[in-house]
């Protein structure tokens, strides 16, 4: 395989990472966040496999008949196996959380969920709700003292 397509592969891997990370910071939908994470991790795995690849080398599997040819580095492949499974495990857990959050707050919008969460925390602590983003700045800066019952 030519060097140019190696560069293309590198670009592809990093492109996946860029797209995934971009989606991770851009989107506010929990489900979409999980997707973005999956895409970015796929890119990372591709990169890691690339780290062990040599053009013209064979897959690291010995066919009994054939003589042992030059092979690609097997260690990164083993690592990638691990990281793929890890990624799926985290993805499943995140989806479970999203389901619960949706069931509790009836929304998948991160901003809304975050607001509800802050409100719950303050309510449980018995502290007055924090000054909202829309309150005049000076009120936010002044900050409230601790709650006195």
């Amino acid at each position: 395989m030519s060097q140019s397509s190696l560069s293309i592969l590198l670009l592809g891997a990093l492109g996946l990472v860029g797209i995934g990370v971009g989606g991770l910071v851009l989107s506010r939908n929990l489900y979409r966040l999980v997707l973005a994470l999956a895409v970015a991790e796929t890119g990372g795995n591709l990169l890691l496999v690339l780290a062990g690849f040599r053009p013209g080398a064979a897959a690291p599997i010995i066919e009994p008949g054939r003589a042992v040819a030059a092979m690609v580095d097997p260690v990164p492949q083993a690592m990638v196996l691990t990281s793929i499974v890890i990624g799926v495990g985290v993805q499943a857990f995140a989806l479970g959380l999203a389901i619960r959050a949706r069931a509790a707050y009836g929304s998948l919008d991160m901003d809304e969920l975050r607001g509800r969460m802050e409100a719950d925390i303050d309510a449980e602590a018995g502290a007055p709700p924090a000054a909202s983003q829309h309150a005049p700045a000076i009120a936010r800066l002044a900050g409230q003292p601790e709650a006195k019952p």
């Binding site: 991770l24 924090a130 800066l141």
Partner: protein, 619 residues
Amino acid sequence: MTALDTVLALSTLAALTAFLFGNARSYAWLAGILLTGQIVLLAGMDLPTSASLDFTIFGQTVGWQLDGFGRFFALITVGAALASVSYMGGEWGERYAAEGKSRRWLHGSLAANVMAMLLLLASKDLIAFFIGWELTSWAGFLLMAQGTDRALRAALRYVPYAMAGAMAVLGGLVLTLAWTGTLDLDGLASAMPDLGNARLAILLVLFGTGFAIKMGLLPFHLWQTPAYAEAPGAGTAFLGAISSRMGLFGLGLLLVKMITLSRLADLSLVDGLFNARDVLAWIAALTIVLPTFTALKQNDARYLLAWHGIGQSGYMLLGLVVGDATGSAGGLLHVFNHATYQAALVLSVFAVMHRTGTADLNSLGGLVTRMPLTFLVMLMGIIGLAGLPPMNGFVSKWLVYRSLMMNGMPLLFLMTVLGTLGTILSVYKLIHNTFLGQLRAEHEQIREAPWSMTVPMLVLVGLGFLTGAAPGLALRWVAQAQAALGLPVMSYTLGGIESARGSLDMLWVVGVLFAGFGIGAILFYGVGNRSKRIHQLDNYAGGHFLSADVRYHYSDNFYAGLMHRIGPLYRGSFVWLESALASATDLTATLMQAWYRQAVPALALLAAVVLGLGWVIWR
């Protein structure tokens, strides 16, 4: 087991027993015995005495050793504690317990203070010093926080000051270690003067700030008044008498022993415009004047005295910084003198509070007929505070004045005189509003304070009078302190000082004074006595008669005319400074918290990574 070990063991024992049995009615006796034992041991101790406990940690040896300087302060500490404990032992303590407040904690925190201060005063190296310093701060906090929520709030206001001071000292400590390689005080005494000017200035600022905060020097004085005034009576007496002097102790070690005054004088700041010594002297002078005139405005006797406590510490520092034999002797002697009459005054004020239930100078008056002994105590006390003969306050202040004149510092001298003027005015307000004028109707049934309270007060003022008439008694300890610091030792006599350029013999002064009183009395009574006793209420003012049901006492808005003149000078700048600092911190904190409340933390992370990689790549 050296004498110092015994003293420390006794103080520890006192603290333990206080926390165990402090609630018992008769615990004060045990505490008194333990404290007396410490006084005896301290007085009889040969100097320097080192403790047998010491250990090495992270390459530094930590140990304790008491020299003349420390012993001088230690004696005052234990004495003040003894006075407070005996005051607590009687009716006052009963009332305190009856109000549902914990005598255990009061006794305990008092004993803890004594122990901590002894550890501090006996420290042999900076680590031991810092340990003692912190223990003193937090034991002081404990004592301040006793009793009421007002006291707790005042103590909480003390926390940032105390911590800032401690951290300044700690910073100085580590820098000292980094620069000189030693933390032993004697080793530093030889190593520190060799440091360059810049480093010495840094150390001076760090240590100086820490000590100044403890001492209540301007501009770090705001915490002290409420914290000391709101504490329970015995605690207030102890705190006002000695607690903040630990700052002076530290400054003495730093300025005189380690840096030495001559090196201080060479240390020129703002390229030679003035040297560090002048700066310190002027800080001291300002500390004399401003708090004193703030005291003039107080309407609560406790606050008034607390403000004076700050002002008087200025005299001590000033004398120490002037640094010749008489000046330093005056400064150090003033520590002892101030302890005697400050404690007496505070106790008398609390005696009045004990009977009348208030220390508000606008709601008292005419108590002289009801509480004559307390009146006597306060009278002698304010004479000492104002620095007039025959009390001991006169001696120390005279020494300071004299050294200022001799060293050609007329401006500073004028400042001290101004301070004394303010002192006289405000203490007159104190005694007038409390004891003179006409008795209020609600105070008709007031009785004299119980013996358990009057005796300690009388002992204290008696001590003040004695050392006023025969300063030599106290100057012994002072001379040892001077020697330990490496200052020129003042040659003293029983009556005062013997010097070619004007000596002072208080025995003569007091003798002449009382002779004068006697002659006056003989003339007055002997040669046709025309006086006639009238009742306290049988007088008239402004031309029209007052019937006995209208009590007339001119106390509200005291010194109206004077205040009309100097009132506009009170700007409250320091309060403004403090609140500005607080709100600035608040603002920064809110901004910092905004980071943790951001909507998309991942975005910030990403941005950071990108910037970081950019830094790495184009570095």
